[in-house]
């Protein structure tokens, strides 16, 4: 039986209360057992919570009943609830387990920055948020896919546990046991301290910091070993977010939350690089895909920290402006909105730059089917990586979004934010390969956004205005990316562009990759999503070369290649029609992976209010099983009978053995009769 738990304790010190937990499962080490109860409606909750005679119960509910009110009722009665199992089925009209004000303590809007804008006082970005992901539960919560095994569980319930005429139930009852013991406790500071106090040669870590890699690419690359300020260099950063999460972390899909943004940026990068190979630009452009943004801006805070401490190829003085692509796929009209920060705009220089950027953006939509509209001047920025840059310095920048005030995303950071939410529909008679090529309406609208972004970046970088209209994003690329990231990952296009070496990227599973950032592995391994984005960006913006595989590994020996400026990736390539071997090739690209772990762990400050301190608990295994349980009475009866039999037999045997000579005395052995 397979199931997935949210599986993690993640600790983060909140500045008001002392501890917060994220989907904490305080499961016992030997598993939690409860009698199965399939919840049919909210009123049915009375049975496990108060009326049922055989607590504790293991409540099985469908996703439509997975609401905050039901979960909180169960949380309050946790002595009678042994666990909850959620079976995802249809999407409810709205559901967001995240908070109403995402990342409110690590953005730029603090009390000191602007009192009125802090803590979402003016605009509540995620009003549908119920904060379920941040609640602490005393029992495990599992998610089970709807398949044969779930049917078996329900059948067991219907056979043995159904209440007949309101009377008591007949033992044996069908029960379920969930194992999801988490090693970490309390909060990050405590568990990191416990891990560090282990002085043995192979210390046992009980929790791991979250993190991953940011994917970065300069249009005109710099020497990757020369860190710090670059004289006379001015860079425009085009940013997007890679990760998202859900209540059940491995089920995170983030279609509108993150995929819409980074797919648009990837397409814009491709358009820009194609059209502007030779044109000189006054400014450089950095395409930055930040990972871990959901967990208090891990990736962007790391990049800002590196820039401030001369650990990155440029520093904050080199940054001219920032254009970030937020959630752009669920439009309520034909407009996209430009969000800017009102506080930094009080400075005239910044204000002029922002106005210029807005002008470039608005003129880029000429000939396209939408337009950019500025939001209200007093409204702050939505949660975005740009806020971390603002926290360090007043940099002019704009965040693109499809929402004017609060999010249009009804499923922000939940497992319903999937392909269906973006209306990615394919005609039913297409094969998977044909679906890959089919250009959906969503793809078309995102392509237009990408075109506008590419043109804006071109103008921001000082390109020639006459060349602008030649820049167009490719709708085929966009629709293939949407298909690969949201529907099926092991399609032929991803396999062509992918790496043959990294098996985490082998994409044997058809499912989309996991968007949750995961733990920062010490072994320089990124997760599948990062590699996908890296290889895609490399193929879309880099150049294919004639190098052989061994040359690709060591290109410095060749005269025209340099690993200081470029990275060389061996790409799988296509299978030509008449053979079975792939034609792999070497791509020269400026794409690099930059470590994205919160600076708090480098600084050893596990209670930092400045940086993210999210960690994930380690666990041994996650499993579940069902069986029948007998009544307590029968068990005690068995024990009682056993003890009685033992004592009786001891007494009788002792008695008989002491009187044995009396009882068995009538016939002596023949050879003793001589006496």
């Amino acid at each position: 039986m397979t199931g997935r738990g949210p599986g993690t304790i993640i600790g983060f010190p909140h500045k008001r209360t002392s501890i917060f937990f994220l989907s904490c499962v305080s499961a016992s080490i030997s598993g939690d057992t409860g009698v199965i109860h399939v919840l049919e409606s909210e009123a049915d909750l009375e049975w496990p919570l108060s009326k049922g005679p055989n607590p504790p119960y293991m409540v099985l509910l469908e996703s439509s009943l997975f609401t905050k009110s039901i979960m909180m009722k169960m949380k309050n009665a946790s002595s009678r609830v042994a666990g909850v199992v959620v079976v995802p089925k249809t999407s409810p009209p709205e559901f967001s387990p995240h908070t109403t004000c995402p990342n409110e303590n690590t953005g730029v809007y603090t009390e000191t920055y602007d009192h009125n804008l802090a803590h979402c006082n003016t605009t509540v970005w995620n009003p549908r948020g119920n904060g379920l992901s941040y609640e602490e539960f005393d029992f495990p919560v599992f998610s089970l896919k709807e398949d044969n095994e779930t049917e078996v569980i329900k059948q067991c319930y219907f056979d043995h546990n159904r209440v007949v005429n309101g009377s008591g139930l007949q033992y044996p009852l069908c029960a379920m046991q969930l194992f999801s013991h988490m090693h970490a406790v309390t909060d990050t500071a405590t568990c990191m301290r416990r891990s560090s106090m282990d002085f043995s040669t192979s210390p046992v870590m009980v929790c791991d910091p979250l993190g991953g890699y940011n994917v970065c690419a300069f249009i005109r690359p710099y020497n990757s070993t020369a860190f710090g300020h670059k004289e006379n260099e001015s860079v425009v950063i085009a940013a997007a977010r890679l990760d998202s999460k859900a209540f059940f972390l491995e089920d995170s899909t983030g279609a509108e939350g993150s995929v819409s943004g980074f797919v648009t940026l990837l397409a814009a990068a491709q358009a820009l690089c194609e059209a502007t190979q030779e044109a000189p630009r006054t400014r450089n452009i950095l395409f930055a895909f930040f990972h871990g943004e959901v967990f208090d801006y891990i990736g962007s805070s790391r990049m800002v920290y590196d820039m401030k401490n001369n650990m990155f190829v440029i520093d904050l003085d080199n940054v001219h402006s920032i254009l970030e692509i937020g959630q752009v796929a669920v439009r309520s009209g034909t407009n996209l909105f430009l969000h800017s920060d009102p506080v930094s705009r009080r400075n005239n220089t910044v204000h002029d730059e922002v106005t210029n950027l807005v002008k470039n953006l608005q003129s880029s939509t000429a000939g396209l089917n939408f337009s950019f509209v500025e939001t209200d001047f007093s409204q702050p920025l939505p949660p975005s990586s740009f806020q971390r840059f603002l926290r360090a310095r007043a940099i002019p920048g704009i965040v693109l979004a499809d929402h004017q005030t609060d999010f249009n995303n009804r499923y922000y950071e939940s497992f319903y934010d999937n392909a269906a939410h973006l209306n990615l529909t394919y005609p039913s008679n297409l094969s998977p390969e044909e679906q890959l090529e089919f250009v959906t309406d969503t793809a078309k609208s995102l392509t237009e956004v990408a075109t506008a972004v590419a043109r804006t970046l071109f103008k921001q970088a000082g390109g020639n205005n006459s060349q602008v209209n030649k820049i167009n994003a490719d709708p085929k690329t966009v629709t293939q990316m949407l298909y690969g990231f949201l529907v099926r990952s092991n399609n032929s296009w991803f396999q062509v562009l992918g790496s043959s070496l990294r098996c985490v990227f082998c994409l044997s599973e058809p499912n989309p990759p996991q968007y949750y950032v995961g733990v920062a592995k010490s072994s320089h391994q990124a997760n599948a999503l990062t590699y996908l984005v890296q290889y895609l960006l490399a193929n879309l913006t880099g150049t294919a070369t004639n190098l052989t595989q061994s040359q690709c590994k060591k290109p410095d020996e060749l005269p025209n290649e340099s690993t200081y400026l470029y990275s060389y990736l061996w790409v799988q390539g296509m299978v030509p029609p008449n053979s079975t071997q792939r034609e792999s090739f070497c791509v020269r690209t400026a794409v690099r992976l930059v470590k994205a772990v919160s600076p708090a762990f480098d600084l050893g400050d596990y209670v930092s209010k400045e940086y993210s301190t999210w960690t994930k608990s380690q666990w041994k295994f996650i499993k579940a099983r069902i069986f029948l349980v007998a009544s307590r009475d029968l068990e005690m009866l068995t024990l009682g009978v056993g003890v009685a039999v033992l004592f009786t037999s001891l007494l009788v045997t002792y008695f008989v053995s002491t009187k044995a000579d009396v009882l068995f005395s009538s016939v002596r052995e023949p050879n003793n009769a001589a006496y």
């Binding site: 046991q177 029948l628 068990e635 009882l663």
Partner: protein, 254 residues
């Protein structure tokens, strides 16, 4: 089904055997040796009979359930017969050993009477048979679940333990009666023991109709207990002596 059931069933199945061991066998090393050798003989008989059954099942279609059930019945009958054969073989071995033991012992005469050897040998058979019946079931009973998912009775554990208890005691009584019969050259005793053993086996086939299997088996056990008591030197007179609490042996033998 949790520790309560584990301990309950363990006590039921092995309680009497354990108390017999403690009070009658443990203090005499020779008895311990005979007990263990008896257990070993039973084990060898089981091994050989299961070899026959194993070959039979492998040579036939595993999907045909009635055939497999019939093969199991055949294998069990063969095993019963083989157990009694080994019991006879053990009797012969012990008779031979008895002469040797008599020669080297310090007392005049054999250190153990044939009756005592019969009882110990029977108990050895019984303990080993009980262990093989019950150990797997006991280890499964430690988990949180119980039997019944596919419609079986939830009383499986307790009835298995009761059956094992009965079988252990039955083997003990059969040992006593069998050896006595061989001593007196009453060969019909062997045939009766074999038939009763087969009858007990066929009653166990009635499971899960526990009323039909456990009650008759316990009735047979009581009958065998009476027979073993009488054939090992007991009598009603002795019992009345016991009740009146007089040491009449001391008076009548002097």
């Amino acid at each position: 089904m949790t520790a309560a059931v584990f301990f309950g069933c363990a006590f039921i199945a092995f309680g009497p055997a354990f108390s017999l061991f403690i009070f009658t066998i443990a203090k005499d090393p020779l008895r311990v040796i005979i007990l263990i050798a008896g257990a070993f003989f039973w084990l060898v008989s089981l091994l050989l009979s299961s070899l026959v059954w194993f070959i039979a099942t492998k040579a036939t279609n595993a999907q045909d359930l009635t055939l497999q059930k019939n093969l199991l019945i055949f294998g069990s009958i063969f095993s019963v017969i083989l157990q009694e054969v080994f019991r006879f073989g053990y009797y012969r071995l012990l008779r031979k050993a008895n002469e040797g033991l008599a020669a080297i012992s310090e007392e005049d005469g054999p250190p153990l009477s044939v009756r005592e050897m019969a009882y110990v040998a029977g108990l050895g058979f019984g303990i080993m048979s009980g262990a093989f019946s019950m150990i797997n079931t006991l280890s499964d009973s430690l988990g949180p679940g119980t039997v019944g998912m596919f419609g079986d009775s939830q009383y499986y554990f307790i009835t298995s333990a009761l059956m094992t208890l009965a079988l252990t005691m039955l083997h003990t009584f059969w040992g006593v009666v069998f050896f006595e019969g061989c001593e007196r050259k009453r060969w019909w005793v062997i045939a009766v023991v074999l038939c009763v053993h087969l009858m007990v086996f066929s009653l166990s086939l009635l499971n899960p109709f526990y009323v039909g299997s456990i009650l008759p088996v316990y009735a047979i056990m009581l009958l065998m207990a009476v027979w073993a008591f009488f054939s090992s030197g007991g009598s009603l007179h002795n019992i009345t002596l016991l009740w009146t609490c007089r040491k009449s042996n001391a008076e009548t033998s002097s």
